[in-house]
């Protein structure tokens, strides 16, 4: 009965949603403000990845918020799990040698890869978030495979905070020298499709990359640590 009612509700809701999307034919050309981003993006920001140009500059404030959300989640999680006795005891099996060795090899490579992604965020698909996530996955891999692996929590927190502060400071620099918060006119924009181009965008993305990497690593560690403390 409950299920039937739920399905009925959801079907009606789905009907309304479909109604809405039906007025936007799939694949139809329909520009709004983003036409400006597309047409003027290169001129204004010199970042060949338009999405990055939007994420970091046109809507950079959203991204600041996004970073905050992540930071917030990490903090909340750390806070909530700080005193939690959350897991029953269970036997931990040592990872196999193959896994350990592979992880050892992959770990620096993954971090490097992540760094690559966020450094090239303004040129290629990907960016700070993606890069950070890759770095965190490296940490996760190590955590899973190495029983004794312990990322330095203080360092993570510090990196996380500093990266965030740098983001804000870059914004401030724009405010002080460029006339508005997060303005992208304080550094030379450089040439299109070069690594050193697009003004502050790569800097911000690097900061984000560090931040996200540190945050997600911390997050994973926090969750993981809870399970370990019991033993």
């Amino acid at each position: 009965m409950r299920k039937l009612i739920a399905i009925a509700f959801l079907l009606i809701l789905g009907f309304f949603m479909l109604k809405i999307v039906s007025v936007f034919p799939f694949g139809e050309e329909r520009w709004g403000v983003s036409r400006h981003y597309v047409d003027k993006g290169i001129e204004e920001n010199r970042a060949s990845n338009l999405v990055t140009s939007i994420v970091v500059n046109y809507r950079g404030f959203d991204t600041l918020g996004e970073v905050t959300v992540l930071f917030l989640a990490a903090t909340a999680l750390a806070f909530l799990l700080a005193t939690c006795k959350c897991r029953k005891k269970y036997e931990r099996i040592e990872a196999s040698l193959t896994l350990k060795t592979a992880s050892d090899i992959l770990y620096p490579l993954l971090i490097l890869f992540g760094a690559y992604i966020f450094i090239h965020g303004h040129l290629t698909p990907g960016g700070g978030f993606q890069g950070g996530t890759v770095i965190a996955s490296a940490v996760m891999l190590m955590l899973l495979s190495h029983f004794t692996f312990h990322p330095n929590h203080r360092a993570l927190s510090t990196i996380e905070g500093l990266a965030g502060i740098i983001f804000v400071l870059i914004g401030f620099a724009g405010f002080i020298w460029g006339g508005s918060f997060l303005a992208n006119n304080i550094l030379p924009l450089g040439h299109w499709n070069r690594l050193f181009s697009a003004g502050v965008i790569p800097l911000i993305y690097i900061a984000i990359g560090f931040k996200v990497g540190a945050e997600l690593s911390g997050l994973i560690t926090d969750m993981y640590k809870v399970t370990k403390e019991e033993e």
Binding site: I20, G32, H36, N57, D62, G65, F71, L72, G161, L182
Partner: protein
């Protein structure tokens, strides 16, 4: 001006920094945390002040990244945003301070980051001018809130956080989807830009659907019924500090978004939507809180209700058809509501944090533990329930008078809801002031700040809006009210307070003399001031029991009555009326057994006040002049308010205990003068409104019957009371019934009767209550069967009581008869013969209790335990003497009072001739009969003296014997108890009239209360506590919104 982006950026940076800092030093983290909050507070404050002072005129537009609005994100901070921002950081600072004092939970650094980001998120929601950015900030706020709600890490708090999170996720899904759809539909994310683009596209149903989806998401966050189960759980389960910030600050940010949505997204059904959801939430929540046993949850219900009211106001505020002035009023009302709710509710939650138990019974008596706690609690509760001069009152008033007349049912909804609110808030008040409770915490600085801010805001609102609404205040009255409050300072000595109060009232009389007497207002003014001065004299503080706040509250009552009778406008009258009612509530509540009585008093006061307010709202004009109204509704509503104070049946239920249990020093005022304000009100209502309606006579006839039935039944019930004050209470109510009859007759004779009896009743009932106070003070009980024989101990009190009783019984030659004579003459002249019969009978029955008072208290056998009591204290004796002498003088010379009354009526059309004249031999001559008061007095006194002298000369030696020496079948009784006939007086009569004294009205009121509670109980069950159900409600309500508010079928 501080650039809003700085507030956000600096807060963010410091949140990050605290994240680092807390790893190294908690102290520094804490310091930095507060530094940031203080900075935010001042920065937001500077912006708000800039707007207030007019230094900033245009809204501040911040272009982030330097891009003009539709391209980049921008912040748009106008006056409302600045205000809400300031509010958010104020509440956040208070909350943080409170939490700091209480101790942050570990790990502290993390929780501080969460707290900071919560306020930041709320500020971001407020400031942003971009829809997607709004979504991001909503998410920041929500996630911080999830964490904070769970921060207590108790089972309840975690559960609440989970529910919040599930429902919040659905809400943000709706918001996100609708924002993206909006982008698709309009090509923009900027609010202003979308607003201008919308004007150019036609509002297709699909487009409306998108907007509705956005609103549905918002309505979840705004806790509308019935999708607010999560919110209530959060209120109940989370740490009160968190709740204080959520309810006080965060929700207000969401509300601002709601307002913005209404402004920018021109949604045709916005008005209906906000009316239905706001009004529904408001009404339902006010009632389902009735049976709630958990204080925090019940505060939650109240919060939800207040939000509902705000949503409703938003609907009106954004209604384009509203006239500009009404819009202005509603805007002001919204501001006041937000302020009021934020600070009052936060204070209450922070107080709840100081109480160990959150159960209602755990709150029992806690007000008596800490006066500061009591102050904060009372202030907050008063403000929320709309007691003047707190902002809640002005908010309600402004809102009501801004709502157009064609939506007058909304007024009904608001007032009924407000009534529900009174019921449960004062139930808490009652519980919290009853007996001695557990110790409360002393972490009171933050709520105290809130309370002080409320008072300040109330006064500012008074100054700002009173004149705009046409409320005029007599400056002398205001000065005197200020003095009244100032009397509080003398609280270290009750005697000093008493003397100070007398001085203030004396000064008031001195200042007001020119106003007195000349007309109706002046007449009542004289009664109020002179009468209160006399009764105040009798409040001579004989014991330490008197509370510090007794005299201030007493004087507030007195001067608000003065302001009331001087009012030249219905609204002014109403303001003072409320002030009087609530100040007297405070006084009644001081009685040690009066808590329930005070609760009931509060409820009935509210019934009266709100129906009066509705009546005033429906009047075609506000000034006290003849107003033409159609139908019986307006006068009925108007008069109900006054009838409550007169305790006319069936609105008398409050009177017995309120009179009986209120402090003995206060009861004389309650009966003698406060009830007369009802008389004043009814008089002017009849004069200016009821006299002019087409159904006038029949309506007045009903009033007459009400008066007669009140007189009869209350008198009958009074006969069977064994408690002195309760007996006098019923008697008082019954006597006021006579006055109502006189008013209803509305002939010159009738009104003369009414006013004469008004003054007279003040004299003799004031005297009786003063005497009762003295007796109770000396004997230590108000239970009459335990008294008796006091004539030997208190001769003066007996004499004055005797005279008062003769006046009460209306027996010539004492002045009480005058009112009776005038009333019967008026009744017979008018031809209301059935009422005449009932009235006559009532006054006959009154003899029964008259004898009962005299016998049970003064006559019969003196009990041994009372054998050492003394005469009443000297000031009381003076008052008694003054009053009984004036009864006698008026008895002989009724013209002393009749002439001023006639002067009062001389200015009123149709009342120029008093309906009687004076002749030398016949005395007062009406069209029907005559009555020579002076002759009767002389005749009676003369013949009495003659008989006495004759007796003294001629009769035999009179031998005085002891009290036990009675003819008792030859036995000599041993103790007075055996001989005193005190218990069960009139038991035989009770058998005869048992059908009449069945407390039917009380039973009906109780039944209504029970039924509403039971119904509320059923409605309350929809909050099953199961998160699946909550989510299902969300979906259901969204579907309903989508279905009914668009053309899409």
């Amino acid at each position: 001006m501080v650039n809003p982006i700085l507030i956000i950026a600096i807060t963010l940076a410091s949140a990050f920094f605290i994240g680092i800092l807390q790893v190294y030093s908690k102290l520094w983290a804490r310091l930095f945390f507060f530094l940031t909050l203080v900075f935010d507070f001042f920065a937001a404050g500077a912006n708000f002040y800039g707007f207030l002072s007019g230094r900033i005129t245009e809204p501040i537009l911040v272009k982030i990244g330097g891009f003009p609005p539709p391209i980049g994100i921008n912040l748009l901070v106008g006056k409302p945003e600045a205000a809400i921002g300031f509010l958010i950081f104020t509440i956040a600072l208070l909350g943080a301070y409170h939490w700091e004092r209480k101790g942050f939970p570990e790990p502290q650094g993390k929780i501080m980051v969460l707290f900071l980001l919560l306020s930041l998120g709320a500020a971001g929601i407020t400031f942003t001018g971009d829809f997607f950015n709004l979504f991001v900030f909503i998410e920041i706020t929500s996630i911080a809130a999830y964490g904070l709600v769970a921060s207590a890490k108790t089972e309840k708090s975690v559960e609440a956080a989970f529910k919040y999170m599930v429902v919040g996720s659905i809400s943000s899904t709706f918001i996100l989807l609708s924002v993206v759809f909006l982008y698709k539909a309009t090509g923009s994310l900027n609010m202003m830009d979308i607003a201008s683009r919308i004007r150019n596209i036609s509002l297709t149903p699909i487009y409306i659907l998108i907007l509705l989806m956005f609103l549905a998401g918002l309505l979840i966050e705004l806790e509308v019924f019935p999708i607010n189960g999560w919110a209530l759980d959060v209120y109940q389960g989370a740490d009160p500090v968190v709740v204080a910030v959520l309810a006080g600050a965060v929700v207000k940010a969401f509300y601002l978004v709601f307002l913005k949505a209404g402004t920018y997204l021109t949604l045709p059904s916005f008005f209906t939507l906000s009316l239905i959801f706001g009004g529904g939430t408001y009404l339902v929540s006010q009632f389902i809180a009735w049976r709630q046993k958990d204080v925090k949850r019940f505060l939650g219900y109240s919060s939800v209700a207040q939000l509902g009211l705000l949503i409703l106001s938003a609907g009106f505020f954004l209604n384009p058809t509203l006239p500009a002035f009404s819009k202005h009023l509603i805007g002001a009302s919204i501001v006041l509501f937000i302020f009021n709710h934020s600070f009052a509710k936060s204070s209450l939650f922070l107080l709840a944090d100081n109480v160990k138990s959150s159960q209602l019974h755990g709150w029992r008596g806690i007000l008596n533990k800490n006066p500061l706690f009591k102050f904060i609690f009372s202030t907050s509760v008063f403000s929320i329930t709309g007691v003047p001069p707190f902002p809640g009152f002005w908010a309600k008033l402004l809102l009501i008078f801004a709502i157009p007349k064609n939506c007058s049912w909304v007024i009904g909804l608001i007032l009924v809801g407000a009534l529900g609110e009174i019921v449960y808030y004062y139930r808490l008040f009652r519980e919290a002031s009853e007996g001695e409770g557990e110790k409360v915490g002393t972490n009171l600085a933050a709520p105290l700040t809130g309370a002080i801010l409320l008072i300040g805001a109330g006064l500012v609102a008074w100054k700002m809006f009173a004149t705009q609404m046409g409320i005029m205040f007599n400056s002398t009255i205001l000065l005197l009210l200020a003095f009244s409050i100032a009397i509080y300072i003398l609280g270290f000595s009750r005697i000093l307070q008493w003397a100070g109060s007398l001085a203030v009232v004396g000064y008031g009389i001195y200042r007001m003399v020119p106003e007195m007497g000349a007309n109706l207002h002046g007449f009542f003014l004289a009664l109020v001031l002179v009468g209160s001065a006399l009764l105040l004299l009798a409040t001579y503080p004989t014991s330490k029991r008197t509370s510090w706040t007794f005299y201030p509250a007493y004087l507030v009552v007195v001067f608000s009555m003065a302001g009331l009778v001087l009012a030249r406008n219905w609204l002014t009258l109403f303001v003072f009326w409320e002030l009087m009612s609530w100040a007297s509530f405070v006084l009644i509540n001081m009685g040690s057994r009066a808590k329930k009585a005070a609760w009931i008093y509060a409820i009935f006061s509210a019934i009266g006040a709100y129906s009066m307010l509705a009546g005033i709202y429906l009047l075609p004009g506000l000034s006290l002049t003849h107003l033409k109204v159609a139908g019986i509704m307006v006068p009925l509503l108007l008069v109900t308010g006054f009838l409550v104070k007169m305790a006319t049946a069936p609105l008398h239920v409050w009177a017995r205990d309120a009179y009986g249990e209120s402090p003995d020093e206060f009861t004389p005022l309650l009966s003698g003068i406060i009830s007369k304000m009802g008389v004043f009100g009814s008089l002017i209502a009849i004069l200016y409104v009821i006299g002019n309606i087409s159904s006038g006579p029949s309506f007045r006839y009903i009033l007459g019957w009400l008066g007669a039935l009140t007189a009869f039944f209350m008198t009958l019930i009074a006969v069977f009371q064994d408690d002195l004050k309760r007996l006098l209470a019923y008697s008082s109510v019954g006597q006021v019934g006579y006055i109502l009859i006189g008013l209803a007759i509305a002939s010159p004779l009738g009104w003369n009767a009414a006013l004469y009896h008004t003054v007279n009743h003040f004299i003799f009932k004031g005297l009786l209550f003063v005497a009762a106070a003295g007796i109770i003070y000396r004997v230590g009980t108000s239970y009459m069967p335990r008294m008796g024989g006091l004539i030997r101990r208190m001769p003066l009190t007996f004499l004055s009581t005797l005279v008062a009783i003769i006046a009460l019984a209306g027996i010539p030659p004492i002045s009480g008869f005058a009112g009776k004579w005038l009333l019967y003459s008026a009744l017979i002249e008018k031809g209301w013969i059935f009422i005449t019969v009932v009235t006559f009978l009532a006054s006959t029955v009154a003899f029964l209790y008259c004898f009962k008072i005299l016998h049970s208290v003064f006559l019969g056998q003196l009990q041994e335990e009372n054998s050492n009591v003394k005469e009443v204290p000297f000031p009381l004796a003076i008052v008694e003497a003054i009053l009984f002498v004036s009864l006698g003088v008026l008895g002989a010379f009724p013209r002393l009072l009749l002439d001023p009354i006639n002067r009062v009526f001389a200015g009123i059309p149709g009342m120029e001739s008093p309906g009687f004249h004076y002749e030398k031999t016949l005395g007062v001559v009406s069209n029907l009969g005559h009555w020579n008061a002076l002759f009767l007095m002389v005749f009676f006194v003369g013949s009495f003296l003659l008989a006495l002298i004759f007796f003294a000369i001629t009769s035999a030696r009179v031998k005085k014997v002891g009290q036990l020496d009675v003819g008792y079948s030859g036995e000599v009784p041993k103790s007075p108890e055996d001989l005193h006939f005190g218990y069960g007086l009139y038991d035989h009569f009770r058998k005869a009239v048992k059908w009449f004294i069945y407390p039917m009205v009380t039973k009906i009121w109780e039944g209504i209360y029970e039924w509403i509670s039971a119904f509320a109980e059923i409605v309350r069950r929809i909050y099953t506590g199961n998160v699946n159900t909550y989510a299902a409600y969300v979906i259901l309500i969204s579907i309903i919104i989508f279905y009914f508010f668009t053309g899409v079928k």
